[in-house]
């Protein structure tokens, strides 16, 4: 049993997030010194400002929003399903959002991001329809796994039947997940839905705390379980759907972050939410910074980086858990 540190996790993580945000705005392939921003030469100042406002700021904000969504929804779903292996991917929401985006790309519809959002919301509707409002947790989980496999199969089919190798390549690339080269219009589309999703997810806090001792106890404590499931599903669909729609699928953040922070909040699944949201944002921002720091040749995709670092790290955690009594 790890000793619970005295410091509260939320302020620590918030501080870390502020440092990472400043770093993310300061570093990049074009060097911008603070002095440049207030340079007397107007072209120099304009260039500096445009690098920061048009390139780095959207990228940073998107990393924050995406990471926060993944961390928060991961914590909510692990609490709801009472399983430390749950993550936003498990209910098929990421998979359907990816499918929506790929289909939008494939048929040249509208915008890729809007396709992703539609896919995510469709996943929520399907889950609620399939599992029913009064359905239990296991039904929900199984419906999600089925939905996820089907969406992944359809995405593979779209890639398989791509009109040109270039199109398939582009779709594959998008699926790998990245926050690079995103514009304010991407953010405009995703932000309202992400914030709405966060609101819904944070409303599950009390219910998740009560669920620590099972569904019967939670019910007897006055928790409305169908409503709790509805909040968790819709909230995840909104924020993860929107995040996947603009940033592609990024794995492991939703799984690893709640896991890392759980002991720090005394294992309370409700208290984990805010810490996990902050932690997810910090982790994704750190990963994106790391990518920019090592950038040589083609830039490493964020989704690839999180999986490459996340998987061994998770395995190390599992081994540590096995050694602990």
């Amino acid at each position: 049993m790890r000793r619970i540190p005295r410091l509260r996790p939320e302020p620590v993580l918030l501080g870390l997030l502020v440092v990472l945000t400043l770093a993310s705005i300061s570093f990049g392939t074009t060097s911008v010194r603070p002095a440049d921003l207030f340079a007397v030469e107007s072209t120099r100042a304009a260039l500096a400002w445009s690098v920061i406002v048009e390139i780095r700021l959207p990228r940073t904000l998107l990393a924050l929003l995406t990471g926060g969504s993944l961390g928060l929804s991961g914590a909510v779903l692990q609490g709801l399903l009472r399983n430390p292996l749950a993550d936003p991917g498990i209910l098929g929401i990421s998979a359907l959002a990816s499918l929506g985006a790929v289909l939008a790309f494939y048929f040249g519809l509208w915008s890729v991001a809007a396709g992703g959002v539609t896919g995510g919301l469709l996943a929520a509707l399907l889950l609620i329809g399939l599992a029913g409002r009064r359905a239990g947790t296991l039904t929900l989980l199984l419906a999600g796994v089925a939905l996820s496999s089907f969406a992944v199969a359809l995405t593979a089919l779209a890639l398989n039947l791509a009109p040109s190798p270039l199109a398939a390549y582009e779709m594959m690339f998008w699926l790998l997940g990245s926050v690079a080269d995103r514009s304010w219009s991407h953010l405009q589309l995703a932000t309202p839905l992400i914030l709405l999703g966060w609101g819904l997810l944070l409303a599950t806090r009390r219910g998740l705390t009560a669920l620590a001792l099972g569904e019967d106890v939670a019910h007897s404590l006055g928790i409305d379980l169908p409503r709790l499931r509805l909040l968790a599903i819709t909230g995840t669909a909104c924020c993860v759907g929107a995040a996947v729609a603009v940033a592609g699928s990024i794995g492991f953040v939703g799984l690893v972050v709640p896991h890392l922070l759980r002991a720090w909040v005394g294992h309370d699944p409700g208290r984990l939410l805010i810490a996990s949201g902050l932690g997810g944002a910090a982790l994704l921002l750190a990963a994106d910074l790391a990518i920019r720091a090592v950038a040589q040749g083609p830039e490493l995709k964020l989704g690839v980086a999180t999986a490459l670092v996340g998987a061994p790290f998770f395995l190390w955690q599992v081994l540590r858990m096995r050694e602990a009594p």
Binding site: M1, R82, N83, R206, T209, A210, L211, A212, L213, G214, D216, V217, H219, S220, L221, G222, I223, D224, R262, G266, H267, D268, P269
Partner: protein, 260 residues
């Protein structure tokens, strides 16, 4: 008058009649034992009272008001429920688990909440283990922690499903004394138990269930008479009077009564 009423409750589950027109009133200040063979519907009786099972016929009433009309938090404040089995999903501390009992009242941080948590921990004798993770306790200690969680609600009615099953005799007696005290303090305690000796000695009134029906309701001498024991369990009991209390020990099996 504070009372919880099962008003003609019938419940079907998977095509089987689990409860059949149950009439029962749990009064404030009484310790009611609910006994009966496996599958008699004892757990279902409690589950109906907290809305976990929805009766096919009949109505649960709290002080003459239909229970379904009561907001969930209000019901949770009035009726505390301890399920037969509880699986802790996370290694939360004993204190955090007990604090869950305060959720219907608020966030568990007020002085009243803290006092209730401390009282509940002391009542079951787990004060020293309050900071231990629930998952590292022995089976008996864990059962006590979960019991403390239900006590911490400080509800008017306590519906406990076999809280004694995992405990050694010393702790069984300790817990039943706590429940006797809760009843003396004015709460209505509905206790499902299998130990007929403890039931006969400590519960002034017993409800004997068999195959979903209320077979007998009354003081132990009447509810657990030779005839009723034969009918419900197909057993014979050895009886005595010790210190003015009814002593009953299940003694031998009887050949099963043929269906007429």
């Amino acid at each position: 008058m504070t009372r919880l009423v099962w008003n003609g409750i019938s419940l079907d589950k998977a095509g089987r009649r689990v409860l059949d027109r149950i009439e029962l009133t749990l009064h404030a200040g009484e310790l009611l034992g609910i006994v009966g063979p496996n599958g008699a519907g004892k757990s279902a009786l409690l589950r109906c009272a907290v809305g976990l099972d929805r009766p096919n016929a009949g109505q649960m009433q709290l002080e003459d008001r239909p229970l379904v009309r009561l907001p969930a938090t209000e019901r949770a404040r009035r009726i505390a429920y301890l399920p037969q089995t509880t699986e802790a999903a996370w290694p939360i501390s004993v204190r955090a688990a007990v604090a869950l009992g305060r959720l219907p009242h608020g966030d568990g941080t007020s002085l009243r909440d803290q006092a209730a948590i401390t009282r509940a921990l002391a009542a079951v004798g787990l004060t020293d283990l309050a900071d231990r993770p629930l998952t590292t306790l022995s089976g008996g200690e864990r059962a006590l922690a979960l019991l403390a969680r239900a006590l911490a609600v400080e509800a008017d009615f306590l519906l406990f499903d076999e809280p004694l099953a995992a405990l050694d005799p010393h702790r069984q007696l300790a817990v039943i004394e706590v429940l006797v005290a809760e009843a003396a303090a004015g709460r209505g305690v509905g206790l499902v138990l299998h130990d007929l000796s403890l039931a006969a000695r400590f519960c002034p009134r017993l409800a004997l269930l068999a195959e979903g029906r209320m077979l007998a309701l009354g003081p132990p001498e009447r509810a657990l008479s030779d005839e009723k024991l034969a009918q419900a369990y197909a057993i014979q009991a050895h009886r005595d009077q010790v210190e003015g209390a009814h002593l009953l020990v299940p003694w031998r099996r009887l050949p099963p009564v043929s269906e007429s």
